[in-house]
């Protein structure tokens, strides 16, 4: 086939803009020196040694912890929603799913920023609380605020893939289970949930990856105290200028995500089943 050659321009693009940059990041990670002057680079493991000291590993653990909690929250909140919507008539279903996509049309930084007006010291929630006669709460600049921001931003990423699997599920399978005497809980646990796993796994990775690497949500809602691994990488590249250490942290983050992906795809037997994707 002649059309084979059509992939050549993109292969070159991949080489220049994907492969070489990653090689560069690896190269930076295993060297130290003046980031702007290649002649000063020296191969060593200093960056990794530096990372695996108490301060930095604790930041990584904190990021992973927050990302895991927000992923679980998204799953717990999002699965029922996807399930309820998938049971509706086709027209209602499409409209409801559209309502999940519409918020994404407003800049996500701005939507996250708007939470400041809701959660702040004199914010709307606190005004309601004090009107009801309670003490105002410290809702902002802590881990719960960061968690809320993550769930808020990434919930649609969990709902959409689960929904797209559930809606394609053959209702005959559910009927068969019920005919054979399974009650609704058993039917859900033994039939519906296992069949929706590809969607769940796509959802988990689509929430976990941006959550573990975010620096925007933590810097907007977490205040100065809240440093996540994303914030550390940002600081190294934008302010400190130690690209070597920043690259090492990027590599660690990448490997960590790769391992999580391999781990979660182990559960997913149907690799070719493309029902779970967003596209």
């Amino acid at each position: 086939m002649k059309f084979k050659r059509y992939s050549i321009p993109y292969s070159l693009w991949l080489l220049v803009f994907i492969v070489i940059p990653l090689v560069l990041v690896v190269y930076y990670a295993f060297t130290t020196g003046d980031s702007q002057d290649f002649s000063t680079f020296q191969f060593n493991m200093e960056n990794f040694k530096r990372f695996f000291t108490h301060i930095y590993t604790s930041v990584l653990l904190r990021s992973v912890n927050l990302a895991l909690v927000s992923t679980v929250l998204c799953l717990l909140l999002g699965y029922p929603i996807a399930f309820i919507i998938s049971k509706e008539k086709e027209k209602t279903r499409n409209i409801l799913i559209l309502f999940f996509v519409i918020p994404m049309w407003m800049n996500f930084l701005l939507r996250t920023y708007a939470w400041l007006a809701l959660l702040g010291k004199n914010g709307i929630i606190n005004i309601i609380i004090t009107k009801l006669g309670f003490q105002p709460l410290d809702l902002l600049y802590n881990d719960s605020a960061v968690l809320l921001g993550m769930v808020y931003n990434f919930l649609p990423f969990m709902v959409l893939p689960i929904y797209s699997v559930l809606v394609k599920l053959d209702p005959k399978l559910v009927e068969a289970a019920e005919d054979l005497g399974a009650n609704r809980i058993i039917t859900f646990l033994k039939v519906i949930f296992p069949l929706s796993l590809p969607g769940v796994i796509t959802g988990i990775s689509m929430v976990f990856i941006p959550a573990v690497s975010t620096f925007v949500i933590s810097s907007l809602l977490g205040g100065n105290k809240s440093n996540l691994i994303g914030n550390l990488i940002e600081q190294q590249f934008r302010y400190t200028g130690d690209w070597h250490f920043g690259s090492a942290m990027s590599i660690i983050l990448m490997i960590f995500i790769l391992l999580t992906m391999i781990f979660s795809y182990k559960f997913d037997k149907e690799k070719e089943g493309d029902g779970g994707g967003l596209w």
Binding site: F3, S7, L14, V16, L24, M106, N107, W279
Partner: protein
């Protein structure tokens, strides 16, 4: 019955959660005070000031310029690439497909810093060009992933038949293949446009010399408090998109009616 109502209540709470910040932004774009959350009285002054705000208008211009260019360029490269990849087999195909997944699976920040090191190595001036190149790079995989399934659905022998009947490859491409995969191409283009218009992380690391888009402007404003002009602009963009959606829906309804009638 009880369960139905519980379901409805639950859905209402989730939608309230999703829409509360948006409602806040829209309401406070009509508020005569710089502070969000502090209602003074109704005003349209932020909408008028928007027309005079050079910084915000320039950022809007950059955002739209970049996202349109990204959508066009990545759709063209992506369509050609998808057709090529589809016709490959063996190791080469697997290699390209796996490389294609890297920007999808990698966290944005890693893609962003790796491109930043590349541009620095090649001595690029950080600005609009670097921003555009990085946007195309992270949108291309999504375009390809939305076109490939359509190619798989296409009848394999269609292109061969056309060429056996004397069509040149480029004629076959224009008259047979592209019409067949058009829905995938449109999805891909829309996806590239939305990814680009909403991007912050990739742009933040790959811009320079005072070039900024809306996201970067908002991020730099966030510390000192966001200018309500931004709220006014977002309200306008949001309403514009909803109107666009309604028009598309109306037209789609008409088309299905026509097909049925």
């Amino acid at each position: 019955m009880v369960e139905k109502n519980l379901n409805k209540l639950y859905m209402a709470i989730i939608f309230l959660f999703l829409y509360a910040p948006i409602i806040i932004l829209i309401v406070f774009s009509f508020n005569d005070s710089k502070m969000i959350g502090n209602w003074n009285r109704f005003t349209l002054k932020w909408y008028i000031e928007l027309l005079r705000d050079r910084e915000v208008l320039k950022a809007l211009y950059n955002t739209i310029l970049i996202s349109i260019l990204t959508a066009i360029i990545s759709t063209v490269i992506g369509t050609i690439a998808a057709i090529g990849i589809y016709n490959m087999n063996g190791l080469g195909k697997r290699l390209i497909l796996n490389l294609n997944y890297i920007p999808v699976l990698n966290p944005d920040i890693v893609t962003a810093v790796s491109l930043m090191t590349l541009f620095r190595l090649f001595g690029f001036q950080f600005g609009l060009t670097t921003m555009l190149l990085s946007h195309i790079t992270f949108c291309l995989p999504y375009v390809i992933l939305s076109i490939l399934p359509k190619l798989k659905q296409m009848n394999k022998h269609l292109a061969e038949a056309a060429m056996d009947l004397g069509a040149t490859p480029s004629y076959t491409l224009r008259k047979v293949i592209i019409p067949e995969i058009r829905p995938g191409i449109i999805t891909g283009a829309l996806m590239a446009f939305t990814l680009s218009i909403d991007d912050f992380v990739i742009s933040f690391f790959n811009t320079g010399h005072g070039v900024s888009n809306l996201s970067i402007t908002i991020f730099s404003m966030a510390r000192r408090g966001i200018n309500p002009v931004i709220n006014a602009l977002s309200t306008l963009m949001f309403i514009g998109l909803i109107i666009l959606l309604l028009i598309i829906n109306k037209r789609a309804d008409k088309n299905t009616l026509k097909e049925r009638g």
